[in-house]
Amino acid sequence: MSSIIEYIRQSQIWRSVFRHPAPYDRRNRAVVVLTNFFLHLHPVSVKKGGIALSYTWCMGGVTFFLFLVEALTGVLLMFYYRPTLEWAFTDIRALRDVTTLGIMREIHRWGAHAMVITVWLHMYRVFLTGSYKPPREFNWVIGVLLLVLTLLLSFTGYLLPWDQLAIWAITVGSNMARATPFLGHEGPGFQLLNVGGYDLITNASDARFLLLGARTVGEETLNRFYIMHCVAIPIVVSLLIAIHFWRVRKDGGISQPL
């Protein structure tokens, strides 16, 4: 058995993929991290205290993993789901009733809840270890942006099943936008944006309308939220996560006592 594995590992194919022998000795263990695309996010060596589970709680890593799970299950869901008034609800119901192994919706939903929680906990530990202090101030700011986007991802996804829970939660949530100062048609000061006696800000042109694409949560909203949820926000989040990780390394790795 082990000779078969050894044979595979020595083969040209294996070596063309991994570019170096198996990580048995110290040198190759360093090389594997340096030369592998996925592993090169890491440094070659780290301080023991920095990766102690009781120190990082692994919450940043878990959040990232959950993001990947969401991406994967999200793509699976997109195979089955059409964001139209006619189909949205029935597609989701069919997913439950008809689809074999139709558990990806569960995993996607619980994973989203879990991701919100783990982002909070990650932030909690970063705060409690004082890891936002110089030189990591800016990475904390990027983190706050990631926090907002995580919540928005969850929020936009909430609408897609198009059931009672969905539209009313989004209605309650987006009603706030109507009260945006200056830019909402029930916000303080909107009357000031007015040209020749005509209000520029009405219920068909204010911040809420921008968010919903209509005066109330409807098909335009479904479309808008679908695109935000499946395309726009994930792209931005991926970019920010990349910067976030890059900064973790440039700022000197996971924080440790000096």
Binding site: R26, G49, W162, L258
Partner: protein, 458 residues
Amino acid sequence: MNHHPDLTVGVIQGLGWLYLLLGVANAFWAARSLRRDGYFGQTFEKITGFEHIPKAFVWAGYSALLMMVAFAHLATHSDAADFMIRLPEWFKDSVDMVVANPISYFVFSMTLFILIVLLRNWWVEPTVAWSLLNLSVLFLCLSMTDYDFRQIVGKPDNVPIVAMLYLVAFFTWLYFYKCRENDARLEQGLQPAEKELGESVLVWPDLVYSEMICMLLIAAILILWGVALPAPLEEPASAVKTPNPSKAPWYFLGLQEMLVYFDPWMAGVVLPTVILGGLMAIPYIDFNKVGNGYYVFNKRKFAVITFLFGFLPLWVGMIVLGTFIRGPNWNMFGLYEYWDVHKLEVLNNVNLSDKFWLDFMHQPLPRPDSSAPFLTQLGVILQREWLGLVVIVGYFVAVPPLLALTVFRKFFARMGFLRFMVMANLFLFMFSLPLKMALRWSLNLKYIVAIPEFFFNI
């Protein structure tokens, strides 16, 4: 009146498994206790006459008891309505009394928060923390025998919130537990404990393997969770059937709760913006260099207490309130109370300008004439609301310098003008919520400044 079917056999058996789990966990705890906790002292020997009794016996006995309770649950096939192991009514009533009232809820959560901080070195003691965990699980299990409690807490979308509560509690414990050691070390001029793990290790295998185990674990949990708990799907969306209550997604319920005390432009736009801006500002206003890269409490008291205050009683506490306690018409309901749509709560809140003109000056409110020119109207409105405007402007303009001259003198000296002003204003925003709550409860105050003409109510 009985609004609902009572216990079912399914629920009882589910609880049986939970008790069994708790019993097994406590058996392990008894084993740990046998190794670490030693024996009962002399007083115990004198009173009981037994000698050399390990403390672990208590845990073993408790564990055995739990297992018996578990079997009692699992063996039930008879009439569920007669099942005896449930929460006593007087307990439910007293919990409901505390919980279903904004004042006592807030006082309760603040007291809890203060105790968590003050008694930190006591409750992080593993035996104490374990006992508290046991109490909370027992509370949960027993409460599940109540129909109304099950309706709310057992909702699939609310299960993560219960999980979050345990996680937050656990990590808060972990934090204070590590701080106890580090605080003592720093006191003696030693390095924090994290420093002792300063040696370098290779990422492969040390980090890569633990990441892998972590991923497998999380994947397993998600799959189990997905199999056990179907995602909710209610009736198809209908723009005419408004559910009562209509709730935002659970992670926004803290914000929705603020709507009780503030208008949407404050609760939904200004305050969230301030929260996010404030979070981003933290690294730039915290000038304390101590505690970078390790857990410590004593040398960062101010920063940590502020953050914990915002996160625990305000953010998490209000999510709990919004999820489990706010019911139809946004009224507050006890954990064991039926969500009655017709529950009435008297609301007669008044504005500061009403109080000033009607109660104090004994004359009607100045009323802008809607046909008058804009500036004249504005003048009348300002006259009507002058007191509230002075209060608000004073709050944001006069309080920061006062703070700088008194309690925060040292901070001001070290932070400089701009940093200090940012921090002080963030504080004022944070405390505007508890202040507004207190004003509402004590004076029935609705708005300090009420200018509905311009949607400008504070």
